[in-house]
Assembly symmetry: C2
Homo-oligomer: 314 residues x 2
């Protein structure tokens, strides 16, 4: 059995590891790709020379398909694009920006292009730009997020109705059951972030990984909505932002509180109180740091089991 | 085929119409119950004599099981409880309050009790209070909502892990596919609000029903978080609240903007600009005002079809 996403990426399981700043370098991406899913190198937190290094190491560590995630608002985007083309990266996931600028250039090089969206308007724009597939990411996802706050359960059917392209569901997926739920809604694959952020091969700081395994329900929240909405762990930094927002802080005041390099401080350097810790709501269900290969295998086996159990439902 | 919820309520389909202020009187509840689902009279917007009248009319219009939804913070709660017991209402859904106070009293009268929750903490409290089932309602739901903002996709697995009781999923459900998605996650029934709020038998004002059919993605938002979070249509009233919140309005200032009886003004009297219009995110997928019986039948048939289609998934 196969489907459009497995055929497009030439992967065994329709399980995609999200490209995540400070978490997904070549170690994680190659582990996922070698396990039959699609691993993604997250370029958003990499200088151009670092991205090149990760791609080169990826090629040594795995001969399976992989992708690079590229936030289109990245300041040095031309350099990243150049590296991606020169290194013949097979698949690019673009996000946070306009897909019309780069899609044709990448596709002309034989690169498959996927764009991440959180609403129908951008799904249609991505389709017009000529992408091969769409990631539809719901409100429960970690990190940057759509202003409409549409949840995965509401978003997937809407995107499915609006576009013909294959859809990859993202946000809130942490088990084979939630994978099946998204496939039932019309997705043809799932993109999983939080579970892989806490995996052994994630480049996140061990303190951040441990924090993920300890988080409880309601301990993340969409924040900084006057800047760019982002789902964060409710730590001391979050609380300061929250208090400022409650008191009507302006975008400038929020920008000052945010400062610079705070996500690196939190996720890569392990400063749990003052760092920006981006993670999804489903972190409340994560209790263990596991190898990426085990995550892929468990999700897939749970998915197959959940499919069988459907027959027993009323 | 059956399951615990169908057996508990003695209903044919595990489809429950949410008790909704200003929308769900006896006409809607009896239409849903007569169609094989469970109809609920929403007591939250009824004076005690009005509730009595609705229960009496329900009994004439249908001999099938039905329920009354009772917000436990209702000021005249003792009178409502008295009516419910005297009228031998078979099932009560309680919400917005502590289930420990009334559950035993209702159960001693042979009444089945279900409590609505939005987090694990209250699911466990409801279980301790002795309820028969739990409604787990996600962030995407219309009306009042949990402070944790946990979406249905994340909430159902968490509640399923925490309690043994049968779970009714609510929030974001508007099709047989989303019903199946929730059943896959561990629910044994779904509670549907928005679709029934826009049904022919809903007591909502026709202008509000039409408004629901016109809403697009992102046109509802969780609001008034400093008071009690509530998902509202983004109309002129919402915008005024939003602006005040952005500027750091206090709870007192927000209470003044809110005033009194604004939900009646919007949903029952059809004042679309200045009224409080409570509806779920899934309203973006509702394009037609239908009879409640058609809604039940379509959801059920889609659900059965979606079950079959699971076999064709990878």
């Amino acid at each position: 059995m196969s489907n459009r996403i497995c055929d497009l990426f030439e992967i065994k399981y329709p399980i995609i590891q999200a490209g995540m700043i400070w978490c997904s370098g070549w170690r994680l991406a190659s582990a996922v790709s070698n396990s039959g899913g699609l691993g993604i190198i997250g370029a958003g937190s990499m200088y151009p020379d670092i991205l090149l290094e990760h791609i080169q190491k990826q090629k040594i560590a795995s001969n399976k398909p992989y992708a690079v995630n590229l936030p289109l608002l990245y300041p040095d985007i031309e350099k990243h694009i150049k590296t991606i083309i020169e290194q013949q990266v097979p698949i690019v996931f673009t996000s946070a920006g306009n897909p019309s600028t780069w899609t044709k250039i990448l596709k002309a090089e034989g690169i498959k292009v996927v764009h991440v969206i959180a609403n129908t308007k951008f799904a249609l724009k991505a389709q017009d730009a000529g992408v091969d597939a769409i990631v539809a990411e719901g409100f429960e996802a970690g990190g940057h997020n759509g202003r409409e706050e549409t949840t995965t359960l509401c978003l997937i059917p809407q995107i499915n109705k609006a576009v013909e392209l294959p859809i990859i569901a993202a946000g809130g997926i942490g088990s084979g059951k939630s994978m099946l739920a998204c496939m039932v809604l019309g997705a043809e694959a799932v993109q999983i972030g939080s579970l892989f952020a806490a995996s052994q091969e994630s480049s996140a700081h061990i303190k951040f990984k441990q924090k993920i395994t300890e988080l409880k329900e309601g301990e993340t929240q969409l924040s900084l909505k006057k800047l760019t909405p982002v789902r964060l762990v409710k730590n001391e930094f979050f609380q300061r932002v929250f208090n400022a927002e409650s008191n009507g802080a302006s975008t400038e005041e929020l920008q000052t509180i945010l400062g610079k390099a705070r996500s690196k401080l939190g996720m890569f350097e392990g400063e749990l109180m003052e760092g920006e810790l981006e993670i999804g709501q489903i972190s409340a269900m994560i209790n263990e740091i596991k190898p990426a290969s085990q995550i892929v295998q468990e999700i897939w086996e749970e998915y197959l089991m959940a499919k069988k159990e459907v027959l027993g439902l009323i």
